[in-house]
Amino acid sequence: MTAVETSTVRMRAAARRRKPAGSWLLPTYVTVAFLILLIPIAYTFAFSFNDANRSNISWNGFTLDNWMTVCAQPEVCVAFGNSLLVGAVSTAIATTLGTMIALALVRYRFRARSAISLLLFLPMATPEVVIGAGLASQFLTIGVAKGLGTIIIAHTMFCLSFVVVTVRARVLSLDPSLEEAGRDLYGSPRAVFWRITFPLLLPGIVAAALLSFSLSFDDFIITYFTSGTVQTFPVYIYVAAQRGIPPQANVIASAVFLIAIAATLIFQIISARRASRLRR
């Protein structure tokens, strides 16, 4: 470390020590805010252990039964399976189509650029109820029966723009000289794409797919307009809310939550490791 650097570090440290008088205020506020924001999650989790049958409203004592007999209410499991299926299929289609658009947007010049941007932006700026009503009206007009297929069509549509935005940011952050190097070393365009571009884009594509899956999995409003009699997990909860939600729904939601949190933490640790390895 040079002398200048050391002195800046020292000055920074001094600045950090000289904190304003109310410096405890922000951490306290953030702690309280997080505690309040996490209440509904804790509540949902706690009530998955409630010894209740149909209406899981008041606390009746602790039990593990709900976790053991998740599919005792078959509709819950069917709805959950539908959600997984819809999420997987629409994520696969949306991620493929969206990645292609993102590549084209960054790499090529073409006319009607702003019209294309607008077409990609509009689905994100349209209230879900309008998208849902539009699709329902279209399916009605052309006489398509609502079901799993129409849900997948709808979910792919609203995930697409989010994939484009996420992957586009990754494409923009790529250093073009890496691909130039590949071409200079006589790599064919195909080899350059699959051996250089694609692996570098992969984290962005994975992030887009995860975002897309979670958007699809938790969507209710558009799904309700396009589902007919098929129920996804959120639709099941909405319908069941009128007569009481069985604790098994809380079990599934809590399990999904725990898996997702674990996956996020692992993903973070891996990318932190990668980052520190690249720095070396």
Binding site: L37, I101, V106, F110, A125, V129, T141, T166
Partner: protein, 305 residues
């Protein structure tokens, strides 16, 4: 602008690559996705527009015939303007509250503890944690907690802040509370993304030049976080204005809290008056487009993505 602020932080834009001329590859990459959007976003919109001018046929279930009956719009405005006003009022309140609550959180994660990578990442996971558990169940959890038998009402009645006949659920307050709660992550993330990119030396420079903390904040920090604030407010306001879950009576709403989403939903799926439902949807979309266009223009950006 707007949405790009949502993209995970730390993605720096590399040297802009020179764009090649379009041609067949570009076309092949673009056409499938854009055709999909045209088919399942634009065409439904046109279908909605056509339906909105149709005449409802009361003789058949959900029947209507095509016409140019613009009276639909007059009817729905005359009948449902209170729900329209309420939707935008609730959405505005929720946006303001979410901004006030989220900004300090985003600031804390993005600026105050920027150097503590572990804590920072942990808090970010906590911000997005609600995304991993059904928002319907979370909203129902609030319903139980705020219900007449719940702990909050009990305490408030015991200390005399609420009368025995007062409720929280079923009121406009509960709906705005639910909307605010549901959209806090959508507000926090883009603001965080902006603040995370903020060069701390600018704040230090402000302090070195004897600016007070408040004036450094308003003259340096806040203007630089504006892109995040703008996308956060859009990501909150637009879906909140069209939401119908929070205001629904089996969730946090009551008889007097119906928003325009509730009207559209019941017209479309229960009373099956398609022309009126379509007219309401088109109106909602039109008002939002006007508001967003005005807002985006004020923020001085043209690049929508």
């Amino acid at each position: 602008m707007a949405i790009s602020a949502l993209v995970p932080a730390g993605t720096q834009v590399a040297r802009e690559p020179e764009r090649r001329r379009g041609g067949l590859i570009a076309l092949a990459l673009l056409v499938p996705g854009l055709a999909y959007l045209a088919l399942f976003f634009l065409v439904p919109f046109v279908s909605l527009l056509i339906t909105s001018f149709g005449i409802n046929d009361t003789a058949t279930y959900g029947g209507y015939y095509y016409a140019f009956y613009w009276q639909n719009y007059v009817d729905v405005i005359a009948q449902y303007w209170p729900q329209f006003v309420r939707s935008f009022w609730y959405a505005l309140l929720a946006t303001v509250f979410a901004l006030l609550i989220s900004y300090p959180i985003a600031y804390f994660i993005g600026v105050t503890i920027r150097e503590h990578k572990m804590l920072r990442n942990l808090l970010l996971v906590l911000v997005i944690a609600p995304f991993f558990i059904s928002f319907l169940l979370r909203t129902l959890a609030w319903k139980q907690i705020l219900s007449d038998e719940g702990p909050v009402v009990g305490v408030l009645q015991a200390v005399g802040l609420m009368g025995a006949q007062d409720h929280i659920t079923g009121t406009g307050f509960a709906v705005v509370f639910g909307l605010t709660y549901n959209f806090i992550p959508f507000m926090t993330l883009p603001i965080f993304a902006s603040l995370d990119r903020l060069d701390k030396r600018l704040i230090e420079a402000g302090n070195d030049l004897y600016a007070s903390h408040a004036s450094t904040f308003w003259k340096v920090t806040f203007p630089l976080s504006l892109p995040g604030v703008i996308s956060g407010t859009l990501l909150t306001f637009i879906p909140a204005a069209g939401d119908y879950v929070n205001a629904s009576q089996s969730f946090l709403g009551g008889p007097g809290t119906a928003m325009i989403g509730n009207v559209i939903q019941s017209k479309f799926l229960i009373t099956v008056n398609y022309p009126q439902a379509a007219a309401l949807s088109i109106l909602l979309m039109a008002v939002i487009v006007v508001i967003v266009a005005f807002y985006v223009r004020r923020s001085g950006t043209d690049d929508l993505l």
